[in-house]
């Protein structure tokens, strides 16, 4: 039985928890969801999701609690799968390129650059259909003050596009999405992530 941990700093925590519970049920995979509040909780998780919220707030929490260091260790040593949505996507990046980027200290795990609030403020938030490679069907995505992935390199590859912009990327077991799959009923990405977690020895 695998355990998926949801970082419980701030933001769409219960939405991710509920989505994973449903994804376990619908796929028939055996597993449970745990909330990660302290660094000790990280060892219990086989995969971790970093929810949407405010990237500055969540980053401070991850570093202050020591959760950041534990995640980096487990990814480096055990190839632990991590999924980051919106703020989580920002935190997975090696490089943040907007003009106040010094405000966020990311986990620096994925070979990509991100730009925060790339589409603008809340007024410019939108719902749209995005093209996801390998999924064979369009996906309805919710972008809220969303970042974009401006560049990927090395083994990090774009997996989702919207109007020539990269809105999803994968690097081995790490999955970054600039939108919010936890806010819609299509659990495609949660199920996809569970498969990454289950595959781990």
């Amino acid at each position: 039985m695998v355990k998926v941990g949801v970082i419980a700093a701030q933001g769409a925590i219960s939405e991710h928890r509920d989505a994973f519970k449903k994804a376990f049920k619908e796929t028939g995979l055996k597993g449970d969801v745990v909330l990660i509040r302290d660094k000790e909780d990280v060892s219990a998780a086989d995969g971790i999701a970093i929810p949407g919220g405010e990237s500055t707030t969540i980053a401070k929490y991850l570093h202050r609690t020591g959760i950041a260091g534990e995640i980096i260790k487990k990814v480096t040593n055990e190839n632990m799968p991590v999924m980051g949505t919106c703020a989580g996507c920002v935190l997975l990046a090696k490089e943040i390129i907007d003009d106040q980027s010094e405000k966020v200290n990311p986990l620096s795990l994925m070979n990509m650059s991100v730009k925060r609030n790339a589409f603008g403020r809340q007024r410019e938030s939108f719902e749209a259909t995005v093209n996801v490679e390998d999924f064979g069907k369009p996906y309805h995505a919710v972008f809220i003050r969303a970042p974009t992935i401006t560049k990927t390199w090395g083994n990090c590859k774009p997996i989702a596009m919207f109007e020539n912009k990269i809105v999803g990327a994968q690097q081995d077991n790490l999955l970054a999405l600039s939108f919010h799959p936890e806010l819609t009923s299509d659990l495609m990405f949660h199920k996809y992530f569970l498969k990454l977690v289950i595959k781990q020895p």
Binding site: N117, E127, R145, T184
Partner: protein, 332 residues
């Protein structure tokens, strides 16, 4: 696919986007700030958003007079200083202030009783806006009316600018108690409650027209009484089912200490607004961070104890029954 087609597919200002924005604030602290410097302190402390104001509620209360939306130049200065969302307040019913603030680009509007109400009859029809609204409430009826009008987030009114938590706790307990009570109610009783909750629209319309409302009289914008009643009935049934409000619910109005924040979270709030509590205290930087920590660790008393140490003086507090104006009585 052409660019034009893509553009048509793009949808802005939907309920999902508005309520979704509020969900991203959960578990966080939203702080009142009056300039760029304060906004940076709030962001550095870990606030999830700031509320841009000209004066904090304690000063509005002390100075009296008509309180209006803040100078857009002030708000712009704050928007330029931080990357977290910036919210601003408009007067109850003042949709032109709301339009101006939306045009400025603020991320969320607070139709707030802290400012002097502009419309004696109606709150703003919030569905017509692209950006989301947060509104205050004292009870389930106010909460449900604001949600029906399109609010994407609800907060307790509490009693702003007092540093006194009692009214926020009162409002949280009343809303929560009413939600629990819905569980015991049959649909017929819930329908009667929906009818009761629509009475303020009837009263306003009768005051305006000088005659009794009938089935063909719109009572809020273009909406007829029966339609509102039916919608509110549906909202109440959803609340009964999920046993919480269908939108994010924050605490506000009187939070001054980390323990104040923690008690509101333990009573079921999704997060807290701190108005005068931070920048009217003797050490705003330290207190702001302490309240952020308290919200994240609201159920860990040892953390609350630790972060409460040596914070200096909290804002000066006020007894509710000695107040000249009770801001919570604004709005209906």
């Amino acid at each position: 696919m052409t660019k034009e087609l893509d553009f048509k597919q793009l949808r802005h200002g939907t309920e999902l986007l508005k309520r979704g924005f509020a969900k991203m604030q959960k578990g966080g602290v939203i702080m009142d700030v009056t300039n760029a410097e304060q906004a940076k302190i709030a962001e550095e402390a870990g606030a999830v958003a700031v509320m841009a104001l000209e004066r904090v509620p304690a000063d509005i209360r002390a100075q009296g007079g008509v309180a209006r939306m803040a100078d857009p130049a002030k708000i712009q200065e704050i928007m330029d200083a931080v990357t977290i969302p910036v919210m601003a307040k408009c007067r109850i019913g003042h949709f032109a202030e709301a339009q101006a603030l939306e045009a400025l680009g603020v991320d969320m509007l607070d139709e707030s009783e802290v400012l002097t109400p502009a419309d004696p009859f109606y709150h703003i029809d919030k569905r017509g806006f692209t950006i989301p609204f947060v509104c205050g409430c004292r009870n389930l009826g106010e909460a449900v009316r604001r949600i029906w009008e399109g609010a994407a987030m609800i907060r307790t009114k509490g009693e702003a600018g007092t540093g006194n938590i009692i009214e926020a706790i009162r409002h949280q307990r009343i809303v929560d108690g009413s939600i629990k009570h819905l569980k015991l109610m049959e649909d017929a009783d819930i329908y009667l409650l929906a009818e009761e909750y629509t009475q303020s629209y009837v009263k306003a319309t009768e005051e305006i027209t000088g005659r009794e409302v009938d089935v063909n009289t719109p009572v809020f914008g273009k909406y007829l009484l029966d339609d509102i009643k039916q919608d509110i009935f549906e909202i109440l049934k959803e609340i009964k089912e999920i046993q919480r409000l269908p939108v994010v619910n924050f605490a506000a109005g009187g939070i001054a200490t980390p323990a104040d924040a923690a008690i509101m979270m333990q009573l079921g709030s999704d997060g807290v607004f701190v108005g005068s509590g931070i920048f009217k205290s003797s050490n705003p930087t330290k207190r702001a961070k302490a309240i952020v920590d308290a919200v994240a660790n609201y159920d860990k008393p040892e953390v609350i104890a630790e972060v409460s140490k040596n914070l200096g003086d909290a804002m000066p507090g006020q007894e509710i029954d000695k107040l000249d104006v009770r801001l919570q009585e604004r709005g209906w």
